[in-house]
């Protein structure tokens, strides 16, 4: 539905030229949700603006719904834009218009008859749950309501694709998840293709099918979300994931922990499970095979598109000579192990 081919965007010229996007190739399948994630300054904003040509790529081609946008003249481009909705971090609603007026704007631009506009506005108010605020001005709305208005406005002309520019970054966590489920709902009900940019892994985790990681203006990794969260293939991907999946030892644990193993100490190990959770079979196996008992101190389990991702900090209680073998065994089961320190036996 959306395809970027070798898209490069350079700002300025000569010695002062800055390359914001380098040879970006991206394909967003019809009906899917793709998230482009990256730190600020990585080129996310430039990338999404290149899709509807708010920014014109210096080189490369952009296709939306089978049409090449990069070769269109102004009139053709305006027409193509009617089929691509866009929402923004700061909503960009017209303060001088009510909720209804804002939602109807894209239809006024294409000269839709007034009665049809009103009918469409009613449908969209219903879809976005804004019936009660139909005649309010944006200044009287909360952030979440404003973004709903923006979504309704973006959908007014029945676009095939929706671009979301950090659409939840100005919202609190609860409102964020409400807006994300609205986007998911629209995606499923209307079959709308969504391309979003974000710096929040949570956004990608909760609604995206595909993720593209952008770093220094280049897409370094593009993969299905389940794969990315369990097995990132690049160093940048791993760093992002580690930041998101932080499971740091608690302060009380840190105080008890020492760097060196003593005669009567237990190893504190962080385990990362990918694709499967810690099973009782595995625990039994560790005890029977290696004489090691495992006690969970801290844990976090995420389910990402049906894939389990678990992080645990455990104490391993057993003979020291079998500990290494047990950890090797875990590695072969694709459980990543990392010794954090040692604590005195306490029972």
């Amino acid at each position: 539905m959306i395809r970027l081919e070798n898209v490069t965007r350079v700002y300025g010229q000569g010695a002062k030229a800055v390359t914001a996007l380098k040879d970006v190739n991206l394909e967003v399948a019809a009906g899917s949700i793709t998230g482009v994630i990256g730190v600020s300054g990585a080129g996310k904003s430039t990338l999404i603006r290149c899709v509807n040509l708010l920014e014109r790529p210096t080189r490369g081609r952009v296709f939306v719904a089978g049409q090449e946008l990069t070769t269109m003249n102004k009139t053709e481009l305006r027409k193509a834009r009617h089929g691509i909705g866009m929402i923004f971090q700061h909503f960009n609603l017209l303060e001088s218009r009510t909720v209804r007026g804002n939602i109807g704007l894209p239809l006024e631009l294409i000269g839709t008859p007034r009665r049809e506009i009103d009918q469409r506005i009613d449908e969209l108010l219903e879809l976005t749950g804004l019936n009660e605020r139909a005649n309010a001005y944006p200044a009287a709305l909360s952030g979440g309501q404003k973004q709903r208005v923006a979504i309704a406005r973006a959908l007014a002309s029945n676009p095939q694709a929706l671009l979301c520019d950090e659409a939840t970054s100005a919202l609190d966590p609860q409102t964020t998840s409400a807006i994300l489920s609205l986007l998911r709902d629209i995606n499923q009900r209307l079959g709308l293709t969504i391309l979003l940019i974000t710096h929040e892994m949570e956004v990608v985790r909760s609604i995206c099918d595909q993720v593209a990681l952008i770093s220094g203006g280049a897409l370094v990794e593009t993969s299905p979300v389940g794969d990315f969260f369990t097995r990132p293939t690049t160093e940048e991907g791993r760093l992002f994931l580690n930041d998101f999946l932080q499971l740091a030892p608690s302060n009380t644990l840190l105080q008890r922990m020492t760097d060196h193993a003593g005669d009567n100490s237990l190893a504190v190990v962080r385990l990362t499970f990918r694709g499967q959770a810690l099973s009782s079979e595995l625990m039994t196996h560790l005890e029977q095979q290696f004489g090691i008992r495992l006690r969970i101190l801290q844990a976090r389990v995420e389910n990402i598109q049906g894939r389990t991702l678990g992080l645990m900090i455990v104490e391993l209680d057993g003979a020291r000579n079998t500990l290494g073998a047990a950890m090797d065994h875990l590695q072969t089961l694709d459980v990543q192990t990392e010794v954090l320190g040692h604590v005195q036996r306490h029972d």
Partner: protein, 217 residues
């Protein structure tokens, strides 16, 4: 004060209204056009034409730097060509309107600069034409600033119209000068000045009222 003087002052009030309203309307309408042109033709804007932008900007600056009294005299041939005479109330409309245009243009440009860029970007993403962006986004969103600009302009014109009295434009300024100042009549001076204070105050209040009404917050 004699009743003849009272009649004279009433006539003058009417003339001042006529001068200010007519030149205000012409100046504001053409000033908005020029202000919008200044705004949209600037670099990276919706109708970027940097050369044209610099040209308009230069004209505006020249227009604003010439003292009104000089502008009035300099425009005399043009005024005569346009309205048949360069003396009288209607003739004074020409320099007043022309002085108002660049003044309004800068104020309008400032008001448009206050419209968040994101709104223009949103309108572009919807496929709006530049004309649609001007009429449906820029001007409505800048409404408060535009009303403020109009208020400032009308008040400035009340002052300028008094100066135009010097070329026989009539109005309160002429009465204050001819009868109050030249013939040492402090009463006439006081009354005419008071009337102008009331007019300015009234315009300001009206402007504030409309600005307040245009803000939906």
């Amino acid at each position: 004060m004699s009743s003849a003087m009272i009649d004279r002052i009433l006539d003058a009030v009417f003339d001042t209204f006529y001068l200010v309203i007519c030149s205000g309307l012409i100046g504001i309408v053409l000033g908005i056009v020029m202000g919008v042109a200044l705004y949209v033709t600037r670099e990276n804007r919706i109708m970027a034409m940097p050369v044209l932008n610099r040209a308009i900007s230069l004209i505006v600056n020249i227009g604003r730097s010439v003292p009104f009294i000089i502008l009035m005299l300099a425009l005399a041939p043009f005024t005569r060509w346009l309205v048949g005479s360069y003396i009288g109330t209607t003739a004074a409309l020409v320099p007043l309107s022309i002085a108002a245009i660049p003044f309004v243009a800068r104020l309008v440009e400032g008001a448009l600069n206050e419209v968040p860029h994101g709104l223009i970007e949103a309108a572009e993403s919807m496929g709006a034409t530049p004309w649609q962006i001007i009429t449906r986004v820029l001007l409505p969103e800048a409404r408060g600033g535009l009303i403020t600009a109009a208020t400032i302009t009308i008040i400035a014109l009340i002052g300028y119209s008094a100066m135009a009295g010097a070329i026989g434009a009539g109005g309160l300024g002429a009465v204050a000068y001819n009868y109050g100042y030249s013939r040492y009549n402090p009463m006439v001076m006081l009354v005419t000045v008071l009337i102008m204070v009331v007019m300015v105050q009234g315009v300001q209040m009206l402007g504030d009222f409309f600005v307040h009404r245009s803000r939906h917050r």
